[in-house]
């Protein structure tokens, strides 16, 4: 190879081809993916994030939660995300689930659990109680998840003395081991409220009839 121009053209063609072949083709295929209108309840899915949850997404982004948490549930037969015990979702994630998100952070580290459906993991708790659980997790992770290596986020909370004022209705109920001290209360800041609203909004519960076939059907069991 002696010809600089040929070298340049080759170098250009290499990247142009991969750009067109990978990104442009993918864009053509799923760039126009739309919400799905459920014929029964005439609602569009996935439903958009609430304004507060959308602010929480920005907090999620600026704190770099994606460093340790994924937001993608792998399909049945690849990994074990759906098994009882992990249960990171009722089903694997579809591309359509993500069109409601302005920034899509599917992540690539599972130092912590997957969060794609963390909003639906409340069990028997009421949404308010679940929000309290998140606040405690963010303020003092060990108080609700002993042994975790998640860092505490005290900067998302205000700690101020109760004396001389009405106690806040939103104050965290902490055991004495994690409470800041007598006469002090811990109140979530607006950022914490937004972040928790975002986390609680994370649930892909609707199963699109158009995509359902992508999940391999579960082995037949009596009664299902």
């Amino acid at each position: 190879m002696k010809n600089g121009l040929a070298l340049f053209l080759g170098v250009f063609a290499t990247l142009a081809l991969s750009w067109a072949g990978l990104l442009l083709t993918a864009h053509k295929q799923i760039g126009g993916l739309n919400q799905f209108k459920d014929p029964a309840d005439e609602t569009l899915y996935p439903q958009p994030l609430s304004g507060l949850a959308n602010q929480g997404r920005l907090v999620y982004q600026d704190l770099g939660c994606v460093s340790c948490h994924t937001q993608q549930v792998r399909q049945q037969g690849f990994g074990n995300d759906l098994a009882e015990g992990r249960k990171w979702g009722e089903r694997g994630s579809y591309a359509r689930d993500y069109i409601r998100d302005q920034t899509v952070l599917i992540g690539q580290n599972r130092i912590g659990p997957d969060l794609r459906n963390v909003g639906s993991r409340l069990g028997d708790a009421k949404p308010d109680e679940y929000a309290q659980w998140f606040y405690k997790l963010l303020y003092a992770p060990q108080s609700v998840a002993a042994g975790t290596n998640m860092p505490a986020h005290p900067f998302l909370f205000d700690v101020h003395p109760v004396a001389g004022r009405q106690p806040s209705a939103h104050a965290l109920v902490l055991s004495s081991k994690f409470a800041p001290g007598p006469g002090l209360e811990v109140v979530p800041t607006p950022r914490a409220v937004a972040l928790v609203a975002y986390l609680q909004s994370l649930k892909d519960t609707y199963d699109y009839p158009t995509e359902r076939s992508r999940n391999t059907p579960a082995p037949k069991q009596g009664g299902h």
Binding site: L22, Q102, Q108, R110, I111, G112, A146, G147, N149, P151
Partner: protein, 479 residues
């Protein structure tokens, strides 16, 4: 004047023209290497000691870890690549590096951009896209600064005084164009006119894979193709195959990005294409190995006397290992287990640190004495640097492979509660911290030696004489 003496004078002129730009880029790079290394060490500590620096928002793990990665990639990696790439391009094109003044401006702008970007991540302006976390406004500054560097690399190439274009030049030339295109396209498609939904992770994967395999790895290969024949004093074995390897690697690596999305909610052809590409990459890696290891065969004892050669050997071994790792992670069964674990992270670490960074260390040990006309002050520190690097790479590869495999098996075993998984991994997180600390010791040793050799005041406290005759190296021969 005989031809070889002529050659020597010419090389000295080229080295003199490249001296200050190279030193400045390397100095910035080493600063970032140390700073980024410290940040990376702190972030690694947070995984096994979650209370460490937890109260401060600026250094919470989610910010510190990407900030460290950006400092290392854009601070150390890019500066070192600029220094080495410009110098080698000038040498191989047999022409002096002109308009060095512009390069100082470029260096200043680039590093201001990186500082703003890393600071921005710590301050909470992160975009959270891998390797593109820096706040948006930085990207224009970085691209402008890059243009100022890239244009001199290309200009130097186009005014070359040589008949032939050598393999190292293809790789530098290619990389010089690929990086700005990759970066600009990723910026546009993620931030200026963002694509929707899962296309964002696709763009991100394409960029991340491109940055490592079309920018950092080509520069490492440029170093290997240059230093091996230079130090061993013999031509590259099977050189006629090198051009094939270059094009083969370029085309296949460009398409391999999708392999990072195995199992992700994207159309299945995207990871499949990446898997196929990663399998094809192997052919290119085999040819490069034939070239490089063929040149080396029977001459391993030369590595004893040359730190450059020793670092390049680690780099070549890691290049092969990184390709194997990419291939292994493309196997669906294997990926299902080790995806999202420490082993997954090892792939990029192999490309960036074990392959690229070690090649730059090797290059520095060769070119800095020639540029400054001084010897390395302390051979003990050179040995310490090499020892720490070799041991660190070995520990990292062996340790994280085992740890990642264990982590993956526990992640996929639904009966293991997540807290037991964390507990089981605590040792390995600490192990990783220790290994990063070991590598950092090597970097400090390198930095001390660098300050000694680069400082204009020499050991006697007087200003160094303008270029002395470089120390005669018996093995030095052709360009």
């Amino acid at each position: 004047m005989n031809p070889s003496a002529n050659n020597r004078t010419e090389q000295m002129e080229i080295d003199a023209s490249a001296k200050w730009p190279v030193l400045v880029f390397f100095a910035y790079g080493l600063g970032w290497l140390l700073l980024g290394g410290l940040m990376q060490l702190a972030a690694a500590m947070q995984l096994h000691t979650p209370g460490f620096l937890a109260g401060c928002e600026w250094v919470t793990h989610g910010r510190l870890a990407p900030a460290a990665q950006n400092a290392l990639v854009y601070g150390w990696g890019m500066n070192a690549a600029f220094a080495f790439g410009l110098w080698l391009m000038a040498r191989l094109s047999a022409t002096t590096l002109r308009h060095g003044g512009w390069l100082f401006i470029a260096a200043k702008f680039w590093n201001t951009g990186v500082a703003l970007g890393v600071g921005g991540i710590l301050a909470g302006y992160s975009t959270s896209f891998e390797l593109l976390e820096m706040p948006r406004f930085v990207s224009l500054l970085l691209l402008a600064a890059y243009a100022l560097v890239g244009v001199w690399a290309i200009t130097t190439f186009s005014i070359r005084n040589t008949e032939n274009v050598y393999a190292s030049q293809w790789y530098i030339f290619g990389a010089a164009f690929w990086f700005p295109w990759l970066y600009a396209i990723a910026q546009v498609m993620l931030f200026q006119a963002p694509v929707r939904g899962v296309l964002q992770p696709v763009v991100n994967a394409w960029y991340a894979h491109g940055l490592y395999n079309l920018w950092f790895v080509p520069l490492a290969l440029a170093a290997a193709y240059y230093f091996l024949p230079k130090i061993l004093g013999k031509p590259v074995a099977n050189y006629y195959l090198a051009a094939l390897a270059f094009w083969w690697l370029a085309i296949t690596s460009a398409f391999a990005g999708g392999s990072r999305l195995i199992g992700a909610p994207v159309p299945v052809w995207i990871p499949t294409m990446g898997i196929v590409a990663n399998m094809l990459v192997v052919v290119g890696v085999v040819i490069v190995s034939l070239n490089l290891l063929g040149t080396l065969s029977g001459r391993f004892e030369a590595a004893k006397s040359s730190p450059t050669l020793r670092f390049i050997l680690i780099s070549i071994a890691s290049f092969i290992l990184a390709a194997i790792m990419n291939l292994a992670l493309s196997m669906r069964g294997f990926a299902a287990t080790v995806q999202f674990t420490l082993l997954d992270g090892l792939r990029d670490w192999l490309s960036f640190y074990a392959c690229f960074s070690t090649a730059m260390f090797g290059a520095a040990y060769f070119l800095l004495p020639r540029l400054t006309g001084k010897e390395w002050r302390s051979t003990a520190l050179v040995k310490l640097h090499f020892g720490a690097t070799a041991l660190g790479v070995l520990l990292m590869v062996a340790g994280l492979t085992y740890a990642g495999w264990t982590q993956g098996q526990m992640l996929n075993d639904a009966t293991v509660p997540f807290t037991s998984l964390t507990k089981a991994m605590t040792f390995w997180f600490a192990f990783r911290t220790g290994t990063l600390g070991l590598l950092l010791i090597g970097h400090v040793a390198f930095l001390i030696n660098f300050v000694w050799i680069a400082c204009p005041i020499n050991s006697q406290g007087t200003a160094a004489a303008t270029l002395r005759t470089p120390p005669a190296l018996s093995l030095e021969g052709h360009a």
